[in-house]
């Protein structure tokens, strides 16, 4: 932890200097000061004021055409009381990489700590990634390195029937990762992709044949693997202008089964009307196969999770959008749940005024194996908001409430109301304050405050990075 704080400190000082050496750069800084009463279960409420600093730096034109440098990280310090096991100082280097774009074919190489979103990959790695378009409408991409370690790791040790059982949780990642994707495209009609990923060297359960209990039953020793290996296919198909199909299927080779199927069909019979149908299923055995929080995302339970539904969206006018949605959730060993409702959003006065309202009814499955600690899953949810942004002042109001059918901890509802006021001191510098008040089954009166200072500076001539 201390080493990381050090590292971050150095980076925070070094990066601006590096960036200033570049001809074009941008610096985004966001500072948050939170004021809250915080309580962990079983402990008294304590006053806390964590201060968190986020910093993004992007330097383009750093000497070589097409080369750029990107940095993002945060650090924080807690003032007031800390919770048991909570560090007073904390931080994370989220990314820091060099990006080189070749002049054509969308070819690009990145190196450093970076994120890969590609086919089935959704990874933070310390390594390299590469992509290019190939002839005949093909594309190719690849990445490799080490999964960025999380700097926390917990070794849990429990004694069951006199046998000590040890396992690693949460910080647990492998030591190498490689992957890639190949796709084929037909202009305006189809893109088909195949992707794969292998992560090795995952530290897993070390046990002596006993069982470790999780909140959904037992994790059998040996059921967690030391590697992760997946293949997947993805599709985009638009045979007619008004029909789009998006989807993917991921197969887990380590546990030999389909981890996830997820598909979305969109039909636009008229310009203003869009109808969607979606389907997703996941099986814990395969989808959670590489979880490093197995007590919660337990890969050994025999379940199948499905969700499917439809949404109809009508852009009534340019300013008002209405959508009606229905979704059904099905868990083989927990039963069915439904969620349905509607959403209205409005944008007025040249985007200065934005408002919205939504209502949803959720009827959750109440057949659960751990009924005693199961909260009520039948409720109505209401949300409304309005904001006014003059580019000098920003004011926002937000309210959300859940009205439960049954009591949870003696309470039948939860709500939170939030007001935010902001002022642009200069176009680059925003200072804003939020205050929220809420009541819910876990807290009687919850008052939270937040002060935020955002500074976005760029000397780029154009570009629309958000």
């Amino acid at each position: 932890m201390r080493r990381l704080t050090w590292y971050l400190g150095v980076m925070f000082c070094l990066m601006p200097t590096l960036a200033l050496a570049a001809a074009e750069y941008s610096v985004d800084s966001a500072t948050y000061l939170r004021f809250q009463q915080y309580a962990a279960p079983g402990f008294d409420k304590k006053f806390q004021a964590p201060a968190t600093q986020y910093l993004t730096i992007d330097a383009t034109k750093i000497g070589v055409d097409g080369l750029s440098l990107h940095f993002y990280g945060w650090g924080d310090a807690v003032m007031g009381s800390t919770l048991p096991n909570e560090d007073r100082y904390n931080g994370n280097l989220t990314y820091f990489y060099l990006d080189y774009r070749l002049p054509s074919n969308n070819a690009q190489v990145k190196a450093g700590r970076l994120f890969v979103f590609d086919g089935l990959a959704n990874e933070q790695i310390d390594g390299v990634s590469f992509r290019t378009d190939l002839p005949l409408g093909l594309t190719l991409s690849a990445f490799g390195g080490a999964p960025s370690k999380l700097d926390y790791e917990k070794q849990t040790s429990v004694t069951i029937a006199g046998t000590p059982v040890k396992f690693y949780e949460s910080g647990n990642k492998g030591d190498t990762i490689v992957g890639g994707r190949v796709s084929s495209r037909m202009a305006g009609i189809l893109e088909l992709g195949v992707s794969t990923l292998y992560e090795g060297g995952i530290r897993t359960v070390i046990s002596n044949g006993a069982l470790v209990s999780g909140n959904e039953g037992f994790i059998a020793p040996g059921s967690l693997r030391s590697y992760r290996q997946l293949v997947g296919g993805d599709i985009w198909l638009s045979p007619f202008k008004m029909v789009d199909l998006n989807g993917h299927t991921f197969y887990d080779l380590a546990s030999s089964g389909i981890a996830e199927n997820s598909y979305l069909l969109t039909v636009r019979p008229m310009e203003k009307l869009s109808v969607n149908g979606e389907y997703t299923d996941q099986s814990p055995k395969n989808y959670f196969a590489a979880s490093n929080l197995p007590s919660l995302f337990n890969p050994t339970i025999n379940d199948k999770m499905r969700r499917y539904g439809a949404t109809v969206t009508l852009a009534a006018t340019k300013a008002v959008e209405l959508s009606v949605d229905y979704r059904r959730y099905n868990r083989e060993n927990k039963g069915n749940s439904n969620r349905c409702g509607f959403d209205v959003r409005g944008t007025f006065v040249e985007n200065k005024v934005r408002t919205g309202f939504s209502y949803h009814r959720v009827t959750g499955a109440d057949v659960a194996p751990v009924a005693s600690i199961t909260p009520a899953t039948r409720y109505n949810e209401l949300r409304g908001y309005a904001m006014y942004d003059t580019h000098t002042y920003v004011a926002a109001f937000d309210g959300i409430a859940q009205l439960y059918n049954q009591n949870i901890n003696g309470r039948k509802s939860a709500f939170e109301l939030l007001t935010s006021l902001g002022y642009h001191v200069t176009p680059q510098l925003l200072v804003s304050g939020d205050i929220s008040y809420g009541q819910n089954p876990d807290y009687n009166d919850e008052v939270k405050g937040l002060l935020k200072v955002v500074y976005n500076f760029t000397n780029e001539v154009k570009g629309a990075h958000k």
């Binding site: 993002y72 390594g127 290019t132 990445f143 993805d234 996941q282 927990k334 929220s436 780029e460």
Partner: protein, 157 residues
């Protein structure tokens, strides 16, 4: 040692392929811009308002990327196939408001002043997560379960 070797192999393969592609296909492919030439406002963007037909760099219609409610809810499909177009407008840190390996602040906390955005975990999420998590546990695994678990471990062990 294994790690450096791995990187070397990936880099060598990448180099080889780039060289091949360039010799076969010299500079004919249209690339996406590194950053979108026009500055856009906050809030929902409709590409079709300013563009017609196809994005040459990826051979898909502009309209497919209109930021409608459905696009935002289902952006994973677009990011999975065409992440490069997202980077033309979004710094990676924009995505990291919601996608992180390690984070202290829930995304909704950072954007109290932007209720119009579709940020997850609005309101007090400690109570509500027990219900959402029960109904659709798989959806949480996109962001928790392999990363971003530090806070969860306090109660889920």
């Amino acid at each position: 040692m294994k790690f450096t070797r791995l990187i070397a192999i990936v880099a060598a393969l990448a180099g080889l392929l780039t060289a091949t592609v360039y010799s076969v296909h010299a500079a004919s492919g249209v690339s996406l811009p590194a950053s979108h030439p026009e500055k856009l406002e906050e809030g929902r963007v409709s590409c079709a308002e300013c563009h017609e037909d196809q994005i040459k760099g990826i051979l898909k219609p502009f309209a497919a990327f209109n930021h409608s409610t459905q696009f935002i809810l289902n952006h994973k499909f677009y990011a999975g196939q065409n992440d490069q177009i997202c980077s033309a407008c979004h710094k990676r840190s924009f995505c990291n408001d919601c996608h992180l390996s390690k984070e202290e602040m829930k995304p909704a906390l950072k954007y109290g002043d932007r209720p119009d955005r579709m940020i997850p975990h609005r309101g007090d999420y400690m109570t509500q997560h027990k219900i959402d998590g029960k109904i659709d546990k798989g959806s949480c695994y996109k962001c928790h379960g392999r990363a971003n678990n530090e806070k969860c471990m306090g109660c889920h062990r």
